[in-house]
Amino acid sequence: MSGAAAIFWKELRVYFVSPLAYAFLVVFLFLSGLFFYMGIAVTGEASLRVMMGNMAVSLMFLLPMLTMRHFAEEQKRGTFELLMTSPISLPGLIFGKWLASLALCTIMLAGTFLYPAILAYYGEPDWGIIWTTYLGLWLCCGAFCAAGLFSSSLTDDAVAGGMAGVLLLLPFWLLGSVESFGGEALSAFFERLALLPHLRSFSQGVVDTADLAYFAGFIAIFLFLTYRKLESRRWR
């Protein structure tokens, strides 16, 4: 993991000296505000249930755009050569980048604390549920960042990497709705694999180890695939 800290701070700096992070924050906060309003207007509940489901889906499209430049750009600018001729380890590089993306997501989620504050002012929201909701979203961000990093390692072209990330994540969203065909066992399997069902329990205030394991596994698998992909590049 050597070099992870240096990579982390560098990535965070690059995010904030370029317009990307700001554009991203603006879009995300706008969307979450919209979802918050819709949730209140439709259900009349003092909860973030509706907002969270919609936010997870929009992050599925947004986060690959945030992570798409990571390896694609390093490759294109030749800085990958700088990194790989430095005595840092490849896992350290990947972990540092992932952590920086997750840190930006954390800042972004912190920006949405305005909404529970509004709920608390006008009503009596269940704070336990709000915290678990945020935990679920945060894990979701971690998972999407990991998948986004992997898709960025697939190509030298940032945009193609971003699109690949979206395509990679879409099945995890859609899998939840394929129960109509296939047998009982198959749809149960898909149900397990799909992302949103695992998120649902968080929005109900339940922190299930199975769901935590799902997200941890998701993140670990994609970070590992990124490692394998970058490692194999050297051998071609």
Partner: protein, 311 residues
Amino acid sequence: MIEVQEMTKRYGPFTAVNRISFSVERGEVVGFIGPNGAGKTSTMRVLTGFLPATEGRVQVAGHDVFDSPKEVKAKVGYLPETPPLYTELTVGHYLRFVSEIRGVTRSKRLSRIGEVMEKVGLSGWEDRILGSLSKGYRQRVGIAQALVHDPEVLILDEPTSGLDPVQTQGVRRLIHDLSGDRTIVLSTHILSEVEALCSRVIMIDRGVLVADGSLPEVRQAAGGDHYRLRLESRQGPLEDLGMVAAAVGGLPGVDQVAPRADGSLSVQASAGHPGDALLSLVADRGWRIVELRTHRPSLEEAFLALVGREQ
């Protein structure tokens, strides 16, 4: 300092470098030359641990590049063909980042960065954004980046490509100042650069090593010094150049004589100047010497002779 044994690098079916061997001693400045696509960059990438060699052994600074890449990378400074810059960062932030990943300890970081910036002529440029720098300054940052951890070995891939003459001069002076007990390998296809900077030349072509030695040695390998000789009879130019060539070729110490299109002769004499024997020949025949001069092949000519490619 650098020890390459039978190194081969293949990309799929394509062989970029084919069984080359050479070694570089501490403090040497070696010019790595060859036409575009000869395998220079591939070799440098193997030396820096960026790419693994397909076959062969490569040792840099006492460590095997494949077995202990971290130790090697800590001791090597590398400037790729285009300086690897994060264009959105400032010079200061960039050099700080590089010093972190190259393992410069926190306490030494600031002083090291200051030193390096002064050395490459970037003092006072900390806050400039890399993307706004001119090519010459980007190259300076690239060199600063390669120096920041005070490496024993410096590997520079085409350090002056794309620079204007003034910038080129500056970079060359800088490289010259950096030599000393540091080992420097620089690749280039500008041969005057090698003549200006290097004590030794390694020449490769199509992945194969074609020459390795000091500049005079490489020139010698390509035929060495020639003499240009032009003779006339008292009446005017000599008609039968073939006969003259045969007569000069018969002198002791002369290896080879070739008539040239302009009516002069190209004389190769490895034993030294054939002056005395030539004078008596000329006196015997009633000729006179119109021109006799030494022609030392330029590195370009040596290069073309060794690479054996018509231009």
